[in-house]
């Protein structure tokens, strides 16, 4: 697998990251070298081996269905750049 200019632009757009030409070139180089390195794993025969989902052998911890009725609004909005009447206010997302 090789990363080219189109792929890097697509990944950047999906991640909402703006890259200039120089940065794109750098990332193409970096990501390709990472992929090359990971490619080595293909040398191992993994037929009939289940993918490892987690290295921990513990089981998923679960909680009881209890709700805490703390009024969070002030704390949650504390860092909001813009707010109104308890809502976050963000630039309009639809026409």
């Amino acid at each position: 697998m090789k990363i080219d200019k189109n792929t890097i632009n697509r990944i950047a757009r999906l991640s909402r990251i703006k890259l200039d030409d120089k940065e794109s070139e750098d990332y193409i180089k970096d990501l390709n070298s990472i992929l090359d390195w990971v490619e080595q794993l293909n040398e191992v025969n993994t037929e009939n081996v289940e993918p490892l989902s987690n290295i921990s052998s513990s089981i998923l911890p679960k909680r009881e269905d209890l709700s805490n009725d703390s009024n969070s609004s002030e704390e949650i909005l504390e860092n909001a750049p813009d707010k109104l009447e308890g809502f976050f206010a963000v630039p309009k997302v639809v026409e």
Binding site: S56, S67, S73, I76, V90, V93
Partner: protein, 491 residues
Amino acid sequence: MNNLIKGEKHDWEMVIGLEIHAQVKSNSKLFSSSSTKFGSLPNSQVSLVDAAMPGMLPVINKYCVEQAVKTGVGLNAKINNYSVFDRKNYFYADLPQGYQISQYKYPIVGEGKVTIDFKDGTSKDIRIVRLHLEQDAGKSLHDQNPSKTYVDLNRSGVALMEIVSEPDIRTPDEAGMYISKIRSILMYLDTCDGNMQEGSLRADVNISVRKPGDEYGTRCEIKNLNSIKFIKQAINYEAKRQIEILESGGSIEQNTMLFNTSTGKTKPMRNKEEAHDYRYFPDPDLLPLEISKEEIGKIKSSIPELPDELKNKFIETYKLSNYDASVLTAEKQTSDYFNETINSDSELKNHAKIVVNWITSELFSLLNKNNQDLNKSPVSPENLGQLIKLISTNEISGKIAKDVLEDMFSSGKTARQIVDEKDLQQVTDQGEIAKVIDEVIAENPKMVEQYLAGKDKLLGFFVGKAMKLTKGKANPKMLNDILKQKLNKKN
């Protein structure tokens, strides 16, 4: 049944599949302890997990998992002992994490099916592909300010069950019946409150059209419909739109659409450039979800009687039609009311069909007219049972019983009280009825002549006259019989 739509050159068939999002009825969210209560002040039920603050970790709600398993059993579906939570990545203002925790490759529930019942007595199975657990997003308000969108994260992180059907649905009506059936099952199971107005239950509709017998056409997805009426409208509009494009030689572009409830039209939501690329991958913050056979068994044994079982029981015990039984079992409160009514008197078991009719037509229309709910009906099941018994024992006529029911509805009195007070007992005394008929015949010699000359329709005239004299209380069958006898004797 003809499910086709007439086109310019040939007929078209709709192919429809539904993705239903049902909010799990729970106290707290899927991965945090914030309350799920509807209608609270904005952002008042948001934990640091729901707001996606750095370093916060999700911990799954055991009860939500059980509710999903329960629902799976109710959908006759396979429960998976092993399932995995994945991240579905996309950017939106009401999704603080930048991804939704969902299930992709390994859902908690696999293939199942539900049955829908048609008025003509036939039924059809709609296959379920899967049910998976996921987080709901926050809510965006777009119409409050010309340049801003307001975001409320109270809904962010509430547990959703997404129920995906195969494209087995062929008409807007079938789509409506399917979602009603799912809603009914969820409400019997008590795993979702089924409130479509508050958005606890909503659906995305996938729809394409084809020539009957052809391969599936290219589909479009209409997002986020929250009423059965809108689902049907949106399907009708979208099918027409697709047929028009195809008939004028164009082709359908796969697209995500929004339905505008005020114009009744669909329009594309995103442009092509931003086509979905969710980059699913297993959430590293969550271990796989494993459920033991014992746990599944325990949940299975806690499942109440479901609409289909109850329907079959009603058909068997009371010899009701498939359709009557499905109307009775569509909502739990209706089947409960029927059960209480029919068990209020041992005689009523032999008159089940009459009981059904009095509930589903007479009582329902009164409730509708007064904008009231069955569980707050001013007429209790016992009182309705008493009224029906008065009819079945011929004490009052069906016609008078309708007036009595209206009276019961507004005054809260029992049927017995009203019948006694107003002296409404049916006249079943042969002699008394005969006397009235003699009177009518004597008063209308010309009519009698015409009747005997072959004008059969005049029978109704005599019945009406005689009924009026008895103030509507004569037993209609006896009145008819005696009247015919007497008139024919004249011949």
